[in-house]
Symmetry: D2
Subunit: 349 residues, 4 copies
């Protein structure tokens, strides 16, 4: 099989770097082009990118020349980690020019005709691409988006519960890692010996995206799931790994045994298809009373699973639990790559 050639938009940023790293030696993909903002254009990627990862920059990518974030780009599909403002212009431009675009940006996520996809949760929403093309008059290109990093971690655990028991209400309080803010992101004097109870736009995204993710494809849009979501978002002094304290009520009664079984036994299309980046289990259960923890659990399943623990009855909701997602892997670069793999498997690219 010939490898698909990927172009990365926003390649010099933190997510762009992680993409370059995770795509090195990928069985289906290779990075053929990198694009970034004006001050990097024309430079070698190895000189333009202020590399921030412990693993070294892949040799294959370091010699690529950085191009502008506009078509054409020498690639078969585009993965974008552009800031929202730029993304809202550049991503449709690439799609209009015939490129499949997988976006990590929040710009287009909630547009009615844009699929917002976690492969295990709602791979069927990929078909919204057809409506999108019709509506926008695009022939071969399209835009498909990843959810927000906190939403991915959460909804991976909600999906099996929604399927088996139905969701009524979900209240989540997040403790999010500093890497979620990109680079330079959070100033160290703001977070050392501190917690910041505010992340711009995050509570809105976390209250909005799960409904679309767990909704149903209805022709030219997604009919959102009907449960109520409440989010409170905090930034803590952790490098990687978003921890979330979750409470939820179900439509149908469940025993603790049923609940744990629903979480632990769940798998979906990416597992059946054996997508290269799909974890064996989308949800990992920990039974110790003090897990999950970011430092100890963020690299489980190479960062691609949500780790759930402390599942217990709640006094107001039906259940409470704590979950952890790796925001830099499953919450960003890994989310885009798994979506790309899904699109290949579904013969959409």
């Amino acid at each position: 099989m010939t490898k698909k050639r990927i172009g990365i938009l926003g390649a010099t940023g933190l997510v762009g770097q992680r993409l370059a790293l995770m795509l090195d030696n990928h069985p289906w993909f290779e990075v053929s082009a990198v694009a970034a903002s004006d001050r990097s254009i024309g430079k070698r990627y190895g000189d333009a990118a202020p590399w921030r990862l412990a693993a070294p920059m892949p040799a294959a990518v370091s010699d690529l020349t950085v191009g502008p974030c506009e078509p054409p780009l020498d690639c078969d599909l585009v993965i974008s980690s552009l800031p929202s403002g730029i993304a809202s212009i550049a991503e449709p431009a690439f799609a209009a020019a015939g490129y499949p675009v997988i976006s990590n940006s929040s710009a287009l996520r909630m547009h009615p005709d844009v699929p917002l996809v976690i492969p295990e949760v709602n791979w069927r929403h990929v078909d919204l691409i057809d409506a999108q093309r019709r509506l926008r008059g695009w022939d071969r290109g399209f835009v498909l988006t990843n959810p927000n990093c906190s939403a991915i971690a959460l909804v991976l655990a909600l999906a099996p519960l929604a399927e088996r028991f139905g969701l009524e209400t979900v209240a989540v309080t997040t403790m999010q890692a500093i890497s979620g803010a990109g680079y330079p992101g959070v100033a160290s004097i703001d977070i050392t010996d501190n917690v910041v109870p505010f992340i711009d736009g995050e509570e809105e995204k976390l209250e909005e995206e799960p409904g679309k993710l767990l909704g149903v494809l209805a022709g030219d849009h997604i009919e959102p799931a009907s449960f109520r979501m409440s989010a409170q978002c905090n930034r803590v002094n952790v490098q990687d790994g978003h921890l979330e304290s979750v409470r939820l009520s179900l439509q149908r009664k469940a025993s603790r045994e049923d609940l744990l079984d629903a979480l632990a036994s769940w798998s979906s299309l990416p597992q059946e298809l054996g997508l290269p980046s799909a974890p064996a289990s989308p949800v990992l259960l920990r039974t110790e009373r003090d897990r999950p923890q970011p430092r100890l659990d963020r690299d489980a399943s190479a960062g691609m699973s949500t780790v759930v623990g402390r599942v217990a009855p709640d006094t107001i909701f039906d259940w409470k639990m704590t979950l952890l997602g790796n925001n830099v892997v499953r919450g960003a670069a890994g989310a885009a790559i798994l979506n790309a793999e899904l699109l290949v498997a579904l013969e959409r690219v």
Copy 2:
């Protein structure tokens, strides 16, 4: 006025040290005796206490000789910061021997005849002392307790809402400072670059104590308030200051304006009496979208107020907000001292 003479039980621990510091130059009190565990007995306090505070040890206390945690002790009243196991024996022994005991320990808090008091919230519960003496056959001595540190911060903000609107449900997710675990407490390799979603016994205390605090004295016990409490407790890498993400529903509708007014305008008996350690306002409101924060707000009102911010409508509950309490001051040493001041003002000691 002659100063009341205070004996500190558990004087060499972190809370004991803070008590010694805060009682230095107190207008009503002086430390006349210090007691601790076996290995300190007979030593100068200055030699026995592994001083961990930035402010220097008060000269007056450093020359006291450490005695055993059993009566008699050369003092008018006793403040105890003993571990729970020892407290459950030592504190009743002192009370039986005629000493007023103010305890920071969890051992006796939920005993039906033991008052659990935050002066602004439920100073009327002090009268439970009379029933306690009758039941236990004590003549002059008694035991009165402080709540758990997270509960104090929370209930200071709940009390004005309970008074004006009535409480229906309260769900709190805490992010608690490492100093709350005493010394040595949390191992650094467990909390650096990490969050631990578990504190032994904390969720139970935080679900149990607010009902008693907001309850009504009914002869020989407290009739608990009837709202439902849910708690999820996390340890974060912050020195001092417990941050709490709170959601709550009220019995009677309130506008945001009403709610803010109830919080900001609240004061109670300690403010009226001008108790030396009472803050001007038990609740401080911050209007910035990213406050309160532990590092910036824990020393407001010298650490004696709960700081509240981010008050907004919630999608499941009526309201959500974020609050901060200084766990080492209002949550421990300052709580005991304000209770001692209350008891003096009410002529109970």
Copy 3:
């Protein structure tokens, strides 16, 4: 006595904020004007400054209107905390216009005709102002500078040793706080769970400035002291307080007793004159084997002393020791204010 009226250049930055705070209720000074970069000009200071300090913004300063960093400015003297590039233009412009300028910037420190002053160490260098005026053709204005924050902490401890025993060699390895980099300064993902062994330009400053500080005024320049300095500078994850591991050799043999006495007993003109911000002892000695520590010792003497500990013989140099300086107080805002007090006392402003 009428208060001198101070204008702050760079007033919205972190050092500018600290200056505004420390000058509130100062017995000799009041802030009469604030100046900053273009995007703040014309705004209320309270709206323009993104306040980052735990203590609230002084009411007096919050209503001032931010002006441009060029003369005229409504004040008797100017304290500048401008970035180096801007300072090199703005500070001479103010001096030429007749203003005394005290600068925290590195721009002019090593100019031969610019005094670099720590009041206890080299108050006599103030007289270099006369040569500066002659050379530059200024009549009433002048520029006097504070040293680098690490240099101040170090030289406060070196000065009494230089005076009594003479210095031969000094090798220092610093562990510097994140607040030394201003705001936003160090990105949190760069320093959490990390040490960065590089601070741009810092080793050069630290090797260069001590010689000038301990040198002798020789007409129109300072003849530098002749000892050799070596510096290695590291950034650590500490909010405030630069810790320095120091080794040094002396020209004349000293017993450990002599050495400790020289450090602990030292005082100078600011102490004799009773300058308002002068600490009782410029150097504080700690005898515990694990002190000084940033968190425990940075607020000793309100942050205006260097704290020294672990003084012991070295196997290569004569002595080794550890010292701590509060970089935000004695290393920046407090340094400028003490210099301003010195200039008033010497009738230079």
Copy 4:
């Protein structure tokens, strides 16, 4: 080849856990026995060890029953990570009973007849075993020790310089990770937002061990190398990775080019023999001005190399540089395993 069977003393501690992990699937070794202190004896290892590592406990070791730290133990050789006090009794007891013992403890390191070995640096010192057996009357058993973690990182970089240029003086200032103190080790309230300029016994070890490591085997003892060593040791808030600021003078002049070449090109017997845990290069050079850093460089060469950067001329010594060693891998468990591999290759076990 049949795998050698290893018994771990102190198996439940942090180094013991790392040993169990690193020996899982080792090509030459398998763990056949685990021993620990009284309260663990008789339990399954999986139940007795409070597992603190992110990687899961190897299945093979979890079912072993914990035995006492005294012979006999069902194994071919013993690796000990016992605390010093217990090690000084248990390790000779095992050697006397015929077991080869590789020790991570400081107890016996400086005994004249005990080899202190870093395989690349002084593999010839293994022959001191013969004198040890004669002196102590042991037939098949012996004790061989790893150096202190900071000393290993340092001496890996000193050895090639000593070989080619000769060492005269070495002054090192360390910034050591919290994992170096074991578990629970450093209390979090002591190190969050702080640096502690003291580690008990560390400066002594670091001044003493390098001379023995770079010395020459002279019959029944090691003639230490003659250069002078000075050490200042600090604890910083980093999980893993000791950073060291080093200054040194050489016996023979070297250009910077020569120096870098000596470091980068160095390899030794473990590399020639292809020992399974030997890194390709014992010393890795970084040329960026802000490297090495603990978080980014501690996992280079799987934690088995010393990473060196910032090599520059010094004003007092000949050279200054910064180096980093992974204290939990090359500084402890990996050091013992590489020594075990060396002993197998030299047919000593």
